[in-house]
């Protein structure tokens, strides 16, 4: 685990809270998914929590984020409203997308989350465009886009990188490499497995990040964000972490049929929450008492969010054509 010295305690704790929150929300969703009340495909980010947390902690509230189908962590880390997210999973009118989007289409404009595309790679140029809008306005915002290793195979990424680099736009590309697209391993899809090499085609700064290590994520993202906010152009981060569950839904019933066992075993030794917790405890930043308190607060929030969501009204079927146009 990277040394956290120099980072204010407040931030260190915030990172811990966010990772814990993502973890606990995902586990709660998973535990209730079998009830079939959340009638929307969920893509859990268990194992990847440190990426969302570390990246978003470097951002200001009005900085923009674009997300993808595996969006829960991004939404929570950017400060999205939790009850509205859970209500969206329950497809309720009170959902962040008013039940129109479901799990793959989360939005919270009050914290700069301008939407999530479930088309792999689809959000990437949108982020570059938002960054362009920021430059035109001179609003000083930075935009971050999250996407997977699979998205790094889509041509639109290269088009977007070229344009962002050409115009030196304030955007940070965050690739969450979890080595899988559905059941397909990265090696079955990519000529070389070093995604962080790709941006060099456009002379864009790029780093490999340990996506399990929230401090590594935080520091490298901070560098990229500072750099781009000061007008020096975009950067790229390849954050490696492991998808603990199946592509979608709860559990991973096909695990034995598509995972490489040694890979699985190796990654199972690494838990973004536990590693960080250990480091914080060792650094006397987190005590057992504090930890308990944080967990309780989060659980209460989650309880409330689920209660809110479950109690919320469904959309009115008469309004099926509403929101087509603005």
């Amino acid at each position: 685990m990277t040394d956290h010295s120099g980072i204010p305690t407040e931030i260190l704790l915030k990172l811990y809270v966010i990772i814990s929150k993502i973890r606990r929300v995902e586990l709660r969703i998973e535990s209730l998914y079998h009830e079939d009340e959340m009638k929307t495909p969920v893509h859990l980010c268990l194992g990847q929590e440190a990426i969302s947390a570390g990246v978003c902690a470097t951002l200001q509230t009005d900085d923009y984020v674009f997300s993808n189908h595996r969006s829960h962590g991004h939404y929570i880390a950017k400060g999205g409203d939790l009850p509205a997210m859970i209500a969206e999973l329950y497809c309720k009118e009170t959902g962040c997308s008013r039940g129109r989007g479901g799990s793959m289409h989360l939005v919270d404009t009050s914290v700069g989350l301008l939407g999530s595309s479930s088309i792999v790679g689809g959000g990437i140029p949108l982020a570059v465009g938002a960054a362009l809008a920021s430059v035109l306005r001179g609003d000083g915002r930075v935009t971050v886009v999250f996407f997977g290793d699979g998205a790094s195979e889509e041509g639109v990424l290269y088009e977007s990188m070229n344009f962002a680099a050409l115009k030196k736009l304030p955007v940070v590309f965050v690739c969450e490499n979890n080595f899988y697209s559905v059941c397909s391993h990265q090696t079955a899809r990519q000529a070389n497995n070093d995604i962080s090499m790709r941006p060099r085609a456009f002379e864009m700064p790029s780093s490999r990040v340990d996506g399990v290590d929230v401090i590594d994520v935080f520091r490298k993202t901070m560098d990229a964000v500072n750099r781009t906010r000061s007008g020096k152009g975009p950067s790229f981060l390849e954050c490696r972490a492991y998808r603990w569950r199946g592509h979608a839904g709860a559990g991973d019933n096909l695990k034995s049929q598509y995972r490489k066992l040694d890979e699985w075993d190796q990654w199972m030794t690494r838990d973004p929450l536990q590693e960080y917790e250990k480091a914080l405890v060792a650094g006397n930043i987190l005590t057992e008492k504090k930890k308990k308190q944080i967990t309780e607060t989060i659980d209460k929030e989650i309880d409330e969010a689920f209660s809110f969501a479950q109690a919320s009204p469904l959309p009115n079927e008469k309004e099926v054509t509403k929101y087509l146009y603005s």
Partner: protein
């Protein structure tokens, strides 16, 4: 991609043309798999590619374990590069191979429109027939479980508009196999669109390799009071509607077009000549969709037969919503067909 078990249970069972008979039956996915298996076996030029075709789910079973039988060179997974890989398939076809490119969903074909429309559909014509492009693109329409706007489109309304393509939309397991064989054997680019809700449908599927000609619809139910033209899954809903309407004494003729390009104009015109009334039921947006073409064709060529307004049943002009209550409101079914028929039938 099984999200939860309920999804598969919710799927509609199809009608059974051979109910109670002792014939071999296959499900829709099994029929597709058999078609590809036999094509791979028979013709070395055939290969199958697509995201997840060799994964444990084997594209809802339609490609299951084919890579084990034919090897990873002839049945292989692809990167997430829909435009590029469609171009690869087109190029392989131009160079003499016969690719079957399996896409999870029509929505993803939007990334490949340049290769499908600017290249595959035009390659023969643009070069005066000196080259051709024997390519099959399969895609499976999603529906339900909050799949929402980007994962439930059908888009055959778009392909209907493009000359040089053929467009196939079977609604039974029997047709699925026979039409997929015909598609693979065809020397031109074929868009083969399936509907996920047909995947539970079982019907008699002969073991031998057989093909069903393009451009030949089929009358699934005879009637004289109104014609309902069904596309893909809506054939099922049309049959349901016909059954219900029969209780009230209406005899509804149900036509399954099977291929939209070429379109069996004759079968529609003949039926309309008899019934004078037409409802078109589609699994796509009504506006500018395949139903518009069929209605327009009849308004021209069948004008003298038509005795009442032509009705179209399909999706309202709005993206597909996630919430199940909105899904219910969004997707038309037998009830909507019944209402449409009642409005125009005597």
């Amino acid at each position: 991609m099984p999200w939860t078990k309920i999804l598969i249970e919710q799927q509609e069972p199809g009608f059974d043309e051979h109910a109670g008979q002792d014939v071999r039956k296959l499900t829709f996915p099994q029929a597709l798999r058999e078609a590809m298996d036999q094509a791979l076996d028979r013709d070395e030029r055939v290969f199958v590619m697509g995201q997840g075709v060799d994964d444990p789910m084997g594209m809802f079973g339609t490609t299951l374990d084919l890579h084990k039988k034919y090897g990873g060179q002839r049945v292989f997974d692809t990167p997430l590069s829909e435009n590029g890989l469609t171009g690869v398939a087109v190029g392989a076809a131009i160079a003499g191979a016969r690719p079957v490119y399996v896409h999870n969903r029509p929505d993803f074909l939007l990334l490949a429109m340049d290769q499908i429309v600017n290249h595959a559909s035009k390659w023969s014509f643009m070069f005066g027939g000196h080259v051709n492009c024997p390519l099959v693109i399969r895609a499976v329409i999603g529906r339900g479980w909050g799949s929402a706007a980007q994962h439930s489109q059908s888009l055959h309304g778009l392909f209907m508009h493009i000359p040089g393509l053929k467009l196939v939309m079977p609604s039974t397991a029997y047709d699925a196999k026979g039409l997929l064989i015909t598609s693979i054997a065809d020397d031109n680019p074929v868009i083969f669109i399936e509907h996920r809700w047909l995947y539970k449908h079982e019907s008699h599927v002969p073991e031998e390799l057989y093909s069903i000609p393009f451009g030949k619809g089929i009358v699934r139910r005879q009637g004289k009071d109104a014609t309902v033209v069904g596309i893909s899954y809506m054939v099922i809903e049309a049959l349901r509607a016909a059954e219900k309407l029969a209780e009230d004494g209406y005899e509804i003729e149900v036509i399954d077009l099977r291929t939209l390009k070429p379109l069996d104009e004759e079968i529609v015109l003949q039926s309309v000549e008899k019934t004078g009334r037409l409802v078109i039921a589609d699994t796509d947006w009504v506006t500018g969709g395949a139903g518009a073409e069929i209605a327009a064709m009849v308004a021209q060529k069948g004008f003298n037969h038509i005795k009442a307004p032509i009705k179209r049943v399909g999706w309202p002009d709005v993206p597909i919503p996630a919430s199940y209550v909105l899904e219910n409101a969004f997707y038309p079914g037998a009830e909507d067909i019944i209402n449409a028929v009642r409005r125009i039938a005597k």
